[in-house]
């Protein structure tokens, strides 16, 4: 392998939350050399969660969701509207869709996810929500009385349903699951969520998939696998995502599910080597978290781009400083607490830990009452690995501590 050119910049690919946090962390950790962030979207980094909630319910603008920019970021170079198409880890180069090839001294992979789409003809009225532009396009069609079919009942699908309903739309959820948010929350809580969503006027068709989306130029109806047909003006597809790894094709990185990283967020090759000059952050990173075990997982929660971005920036800065601190920085414990929240109507969910590790028999109410406010515990082999608050917040804090300490 050839040596990287020390005069070349650190290149961060993906100009969203993960990429931003990695750049900030490099600066805060004392790296003063050049940083370039390459991002496909035209917008400077912004916060995605409000795009299915508060901001979608009012005005969708970049200003409403933009991350504040810090003084120390003044000399970071942003190459926006440019997509990475290939990378050569030996030559230390990145190729982009504007035809240019650039050298890098170190690389940060922060390309996140994109929405999966249903495999039907592209007609007007079909939407996904991952980006600001997606949310703007959808917002324009969520007019009062519009008939909206939401396909999928994960957090995102349920949030979009709630927001559309608040805007006066008629909303039907179509989902293969038995209950909404079944996979992340488990049967007990998901049943209660169905009750609450239904009480707010959201119709839920479960155990079915979409067989066809009918309409000439625009959506007219949705045909379900059981033969039912629902008239619709808008279809929102919330059926999962793909990792943006295509530009890494041809490298020897482990991209079986996202990009594998070690606990220092260094990219790991298919033969198990961690690279000191290639890092992975955010939704696309599959990394081990010793808070739970040594299994590498991707975690699509909002705190992860920040935690992994900070970690990658600190480790990379130590590598580039070459002052003997690297081994110590790598050895520092890194066990970020996964956390997420979700707002749907008056339902306020907040969780810590990994709820999805648990089977239905190991979920129990710790405090309160499911039909009102509650704290729910998720146990794996007798250890608390997750806690969910429905309405409750401060009451979760001792459980959060327990999870962090190994759940005993």
């Amino acid at each position: 392998m050839s040596e990287a050119n020390p005069a070349a910049p650190v290149v961060i690919v993906g100009a969203a939350m993960g990429g931003l946090r990695a750049a900030e962390s490099l600066r805060r950790s004392g790296y003063t050399g050049a940083i370039r962030v390459v991002g496909e979207e035209l917008h400077a980094p912004y916060n995605r969660p409000p795009l299915s909630k508060e901001v979608l319910a009012s005005d969708v603008t970049h200003e409403a969701v933009a991350f504040p920019s810090r003084a120390e970021m003044g000399d970071v170079e942003w190459m926006l509207g440019v997509r990475a198409t290939a990378v050569d880890l030996d030559a230390h180069t990145l190729t982009t869709d504007d035809g240019s090839v650039q050298e890098w001294r170190a690389l940060v992979i922060a390309t996140g996810l994109r929405a999966r789409r249903l495999d039907f003809a592209p007609i007007a009225g079909r939407h996904v929500v991952r980006s600001l532009d997606d949310a703007m396009a959808l917002r324009a069609e969520l007019t009062e009385g519009a008939r909206v079919v939401v396909v999928g009942s994960g957090f995102l699908g349920c949030e979009l349903s709630a927001t559309a309903r608040k805007l006066g739309c008629e909303v039907t959820i179509v989902t293969p699951s038995a209950e909404p948010m079944m996979r992340p929350l488990g049967d007990l809580v998901a049943k209660e969520m169905r009750r609450r969503l239904t009480d707010e006027g959201v119709e839920i068709f479960s155990g079915v998939t979409v067989a066809a989306i009918n309409g000439e130029a625009a959506v007219e109806s949705v045909e379900l696998s059981d033969g039912r047909v629902i008239e619709a003006d808008v279809v929102i597809e919330s059926v999962g995502s793909h990792c943006n790894i295509e530009w890494l094709e041809g490298t020897n990185l482990d991209v079986a599910d996202g990009v594998l990283a070690d606990n220092a967020m260094r990219a790991v090759t298919t033969d198990g080597r961690a690279l000191d000059d290639v890092y992975v952050v955010g939704d696309i990173a599959r990394f081990p978290n010793p808070m739970f075990d040594n299994v590498a997982r991707r975690i699509e929660h909002w705190n992860i781009p920040t935690d992994t971005g900070k970690r990658a920036g600190a480790v990379l800065a130590a590598h580039l400083a070459d002052d003997g601190s690297f081994a110590d920085v790598v050895a520092k414990p890194f066990a970020p607490m996964p956390s997420f929240w979700s707002n749907q109507f008056e339902i306020k969910l907040q969780a810590y830990g990994l709820l999805g590790l648990v089977s239905d028999d190991d979920i129990r109410v710790l405090e309160g009452d499911l039909s009102d406010q509650a704290a729910v515990g998720y146990y794996r082999e007798g250890r608390l690995v997750g806690v969910l608050g429905i309405g409750m917040k401060a009451a979760l804090l001792p459980y959060r501590k327990q999870i962090a300490e190994g759940g005993a």
């Binding site: 946090r21 504040p68 705190n303 920040t306 956390s339 929240w341 917040k393 401060a394 804090l397």
Partner: protein
């Protein structure tokens, strides 16, 4: 001295800031955020971390 501002119209009292800067932020018994608007410069890293982790991006350092 660092001056902190929280937009209480945006704040949803998630309490993520509490872990990062416990000297300045806490959730009271009604699950509402209470905060101290000034912090010594030595707290800057913690306050910046609190700004980063706020789900509503409601916390600001006034420079």
């Amino acid at each position: 001295m660092i001056k902190i501002e929280v937009d209480m119209n945006q704040c949803q009292h998630y309490g993520q800031c509490v872990f990062e800067a416990p000297d300045n932020f806490k959730l009271n018994d009604d699950d509402k955020l209470e905060y101290v608007a000034e912090a010594p410069d030595s707290e800057r890293d913690n306050i910046e971390a609190a700004v980063d982790v706020c789900p509503m991006q409601a916390i600001r350092i006034v420079e």
